[in-house]
Amino acid sequence: MAELAQGRISNIQLVLLLTGFLLGTSILILPGGDIHPDTWLAFLLGCGQGLILAFIYLALARRFPGQTFVKIAEAVWGRYIGKIVSLAFLWYVFHAGALTTTNFLDFIKVSILPSTPAMLLVLMLVGVCAAAVWSGLEVITRCSEVLVPLTILFTLFLALMLIPDFKAANLQPVLQTPLPELLKTSVRVATFPFGETVIFLMILPFLNKQNKSLSSVVIAFALTVFILITGMLRTLGVLGNVAPLYVYPLYQATRSIDLGHILTRLEILTSINFLTMGFIKASVQLFAFVVGLSQFLGLKSDRTLVVPAWLLMSLLGLYNLPGVAETIAFTHTVYPFYALPFEVFIPLATLVVAWLRKLPREGQQP
C-alpha cells in the first residue's frame, strides 16, 4: 500500500514542497487577472482567505491522522456516497494536473518552441513528472528542496536587475480600486493558487509530525505571497499600463533587462522558474491522483498507475483547452467557480459531517 509514499517528509520539507506547489503556475500567470496598482492588496486578502481554507484542510487531516482524503471520504460519507465524493475529488486533482500541463504547453509553444509538436512536448514535460512520481514522494520533496530556494533566488535577482527600468509612478494610484472589484480579485487569488492546497490532503498523511503542519502551511503561504507580490510589483513598475496587454506580463517584463548589453535575455530565468515550479506542481498533482486512484480502486501496488496516469494527464492537458487565450480566460473567470466545490464545499461538508458523526470513533482507527 502506498509504496510511492515511502520515506516520510519533515515539516521544513513540507514548507518547500507547498511553496513550490503554490508557485507552480502562478509564478508565470499571475493570479487575479489583469494587474493594476492594487493587486498586491488582493494577493494579501486572497492569501488570508486561502489560510482559512487551509485551516479546514488541516483540521480534517488532523481528525484522521495518516489517512488520505479518499479514505477520509469513505469513513465519513459511507461506502457509496464516499466513493462518489472521492471520485469527484480525484477528477479535480486529475483535471488540475492537466491544467498545469496545459499552462506548461502554452508557454513553451508561445515563447520558446513554436513549431515543435505539442504532443511530444507534453509527453516529455509530464514524463519528467511521472518519473519523479515513480521514484516516490520523497524524491519530489527533495527536488523542491533544491528548486524552491533557487526560484526565490532568481526572483530576487530579476527584481534587482529590473531596478533601472522600474518606475514607481506606475504603482500609483494606490487604493483606488472599488472594494467589490478588489474582493472579486482576492477570491480568484484564494482559489488559484492558495485553495489548491486541498490537494495536500493526499500528502499530509505522509508527514513526520502531523501536529506541526499548521506553522509549515503558514510559512509556505507567506513565502508564496511574498514571491508573488515581488513579481507583481516589478512587473507593474516596468510595464505600467501595458502589463495587461501581454499574455505573460511577468515574462515580458524580464525581457527588458539590459545592463550594459551584457546582462540581457534574462527572461530565460523566468522560464526556468516556471518550468521547475510547474514540475513540482504537476508532480504533486500526479502523485495525489495516482495514490488516490489506487486507494479508491483498492489496488495492491500504486506504481502500476503511474504510466497510464502520465499518458492520460498528457492527453487531457493537450486537448482540454484550445489555446493560450482560452487558458488564461479559464484561469481567471471559470476556474474560481469550478474549483469552489472541490476547494470549499467538499472539505467543509466532510469536516462538518465528521464532527456531527463524532468520527473517527475509538477503536475504528486503522
Binding site: 508561445v110 515563447s111 520558446i112 518552441l113 513554436p114 513549431s115 515543435t116 509538436p117 511530444l120 512536448l121 509527453l123 516529455m124 514524463g127 509612478a169 506606475n170 500609483q172 494610484p173 483606488q176 510595464l239 505600467g240 499600463n241 501595458v242 496587454l245 515580458q252 525581457r255 527588458s256 539590459d258 540581457t264 504510466v307
Partner: protein, 391 residues
C-alpha cells in the same frame, strides 16, 4: 510475466527516449540558415495593386564582419539591404523568402525605422507585429524617417560596419547633447496604450552632399494617438527632455549682457520634479528643475572674476532652459498632445480629482497652466578661474 512486463517497459522507454531526443530539430535555428536583421524599415508605398507596405531589412553579412581587414581590403559591404512588399508587416516578412534564401531573424534587430508618410497615416496597423511576435526585442529603438525608411537603411555610414548599429550608437549617446529623445519599442507601446500621454519618436534624415550621403538625427516626431501630427526641432526636443527628466549632459549657449560674446555652459546633472496640483479645483502643474553646471567655454573679452558673476550666469542659464521648455510646451499646446505625461502625473498622484476632469483632458490640456521653476548651480569653472583672453 514480471520479466515480460519489465522488458516491455524498458523497450518502450528506449524507444520513446530515442523519439524525444530528436525534439530539438523542429525549432532548430542554425546560424548559417538565418539572416540576422540589424535594422528594419517600414514604408507605405503605392503599387499597382494598391497601398502596400514596403519592408526593408538591413541584414548582417556575418562572413564579412568576422575579418575586418579582409572586408576593408576587398571593399565589400558587411551588410545587405533586402526589400519586400506586403499588405501587413507579417505578410511582408514572409514574402522575403521569395528572394532571400535565409529566414529573417529578429532578436538582434536594433532599430525599427518608420517612413514619415506611414507615421502620418497611423502606427497601429504595423506596430502590433513587433509586440506580438516573440522574436523582436522590447528594447530596440524606434525612429521616424524624414522621407523613406528604405533610403535611410541603404546608406553606408562612416566608422561603423553596420549602419543600423551606427544609428543605435547615435541614439545611445544622445546624452552628449540631450537634444535627441531615444524611444524604445517598449516606451512606444506604453505611450500608445496610455489614455493621455502621447507618443514621440526621434527623427532621422538622409543628408546628401555632392560627395556622399550620410544620415543624421534631427528633431522629434509628435504623435496624436497613433498619427504623427508635427515635429519638434532639436531645441524643443531638449525642452521635452528637461520635463521628462532625461537630460544627461549637453551645452547651453547664451550671451551674458551687456557683452555680445557667447558663453557655453555644460550640464553636469539635472533633476526634475513634476508637481500636479489643484488650485481652486483646477489642475495646475509645476515643473521644478535643478541643474548643476560647469562653465565650459567663455569667449568674452572683458576680465571678470568668476565668483561675482556666477549668480548672473546661473540666472541666464536658467532662462535658457526655461526658453527651451516653453518652446516645447507651446508645441504641445499647438498640437494638443500631452507628451510630457502631465495627465498621467495627475492620474497617479491626484486620483480622486482625476476622476472628475480626466475624461475631458483633451479640452483641459491646451489651457493647463504650467509653472516652470529652474534653479541652476555652477559647480565648477573648468581649469581657468578667470577669463583667459585678456590675461
Amino acid at each position: 510475466m514480471r520479466r515480460l512486463l519489465r522488458t516491455t517497459l524498458a523497450l518502450t522507454l528506449v524507444l520513446t527516449v530515442s523519439v524525444f531526443s530528436s525534439i530539438g530539430c523542429w525549432d532548430k535555428k542554425e546560424l548559417d540558415k538565418l539572416a540576422i536583421v540589424a535594422g528594419f524599415g517600414v514604408d507605405q508605398v503605392q503599387t499597382a495593386e494598391g497601398d502596400r507596405l514596403l519592408l526593408t531589412a538591413q541584414i548582417i553579412k556575418a562572413d564579412q564582419v568576422i575579418s575586418p581587414e579582409q572586408a576593408g581590403g576587398s571593399g565589400k559591404q558587411s551588410f545587405l539591404t533586402d526589400q519586400s512588399y506586403g499588405r501587413t508587416v507579417f505578410e511582408g516578412v514572409r514574402n522575403f523568402t521569395f528572394e532571400s534564401s535565409r529566414r529573417l531573424f529578429f532578436p538582434h534587430n536594433r532599430v525599427l525605422i518608420i517612413g514619415e508618410s506611414l507615421a502620418r497615416s497611423g502606427l497601429h496597423p504595423i506596430i502590433d507585429f513587433f509586440i506580438r511576435d516573440p522574436e523582436p526585442r522590447p528594447k530596440q529603438y524606434v525612429l521616424v524617417a524624414k522621407g523613406k525608411a528604405a533610403d535611410i537603411l541603404s546608406v553606408k555610414t562612416g566608422l561603423e560596419e553596420i549602419p543600423a548599429l551606427a544609428i543605435y550608437e547615435l541614439l545611445q549617446d544622445y546624452g552628449a547633447t540631450s537634444k535627441v529623445y531615444p524611444v524604445t519599442l517598449q516606451d512606444l507601446t506604453k505611450d500608445l496604450a496610455s489614455k493621455t500621454k502621447t507618443a514621440v519618436l526621434p527623427m532621422i534624415e538622409l543628408v546628401s552632399t555632392s560627395k556622399k550621403k550620410t544620415i543624421m538625427l534631427d528633431g522629434t516626431a509628435v504623435f496624436k494617438s497613433d498619427r504623427m501630427v508635427g515635429e519638434l526641432n532639436i531645441n524643443e526636443t531638449r525642452g521635452l527632455l528637461w520635463v521628462l527628466g532625461k537630460v544627461h549632459s549637453g551645452i547651453i549657449v547664451f550671451k551674458l549682457p551687456p557683452y555680445r560674446h557667447d558663453i557655453s555652459m555644460e550640464i553636469l546633472e539635472a533633476n526634475r520634479q513634476i508637481r500636479p496640483e489643484l488650485r481652486n479645483g483646477k489642475p495646475h502643474v509645476t515643473v521644478v528643475i535643478d541643474v548643476e553646471m560647469i562653465i565650459g567655454e567663455i569667449t568674452l573679452t572683458k576680465n571678470l572674476t568668476v565668483p561675482r558673476e556666477n549668480e548672473k550666469l546661473e540666472r541666464m542659464a536658467s532662462q535658457g532652459i526655461k526658453k527651451e521648455i516653453r518652446a516645447a510646451l507651446a508645441k504641445a499646446r499647438q498640437f494638443n498632445t500631452d507628451f510630457f505625461g502631465f495627465g498621467e502625473a495627475f492620474h497617479s498622484r491626484r486620483p480622486k480629482a482625476w476622476k472628475t476632469f480626466g475624461p475631458n483632458w483633451d479640452q483641459i490640456f491646451p489651457q493647463l497652466p504650467v509653472e516652470i521653476k529652474v534653479s541652476t548651480v555652477i559647480r565648477r569653472v573648468g581649469e581657468a578661474t578667470k577669463f583667459p583672453i585678456l590675461q
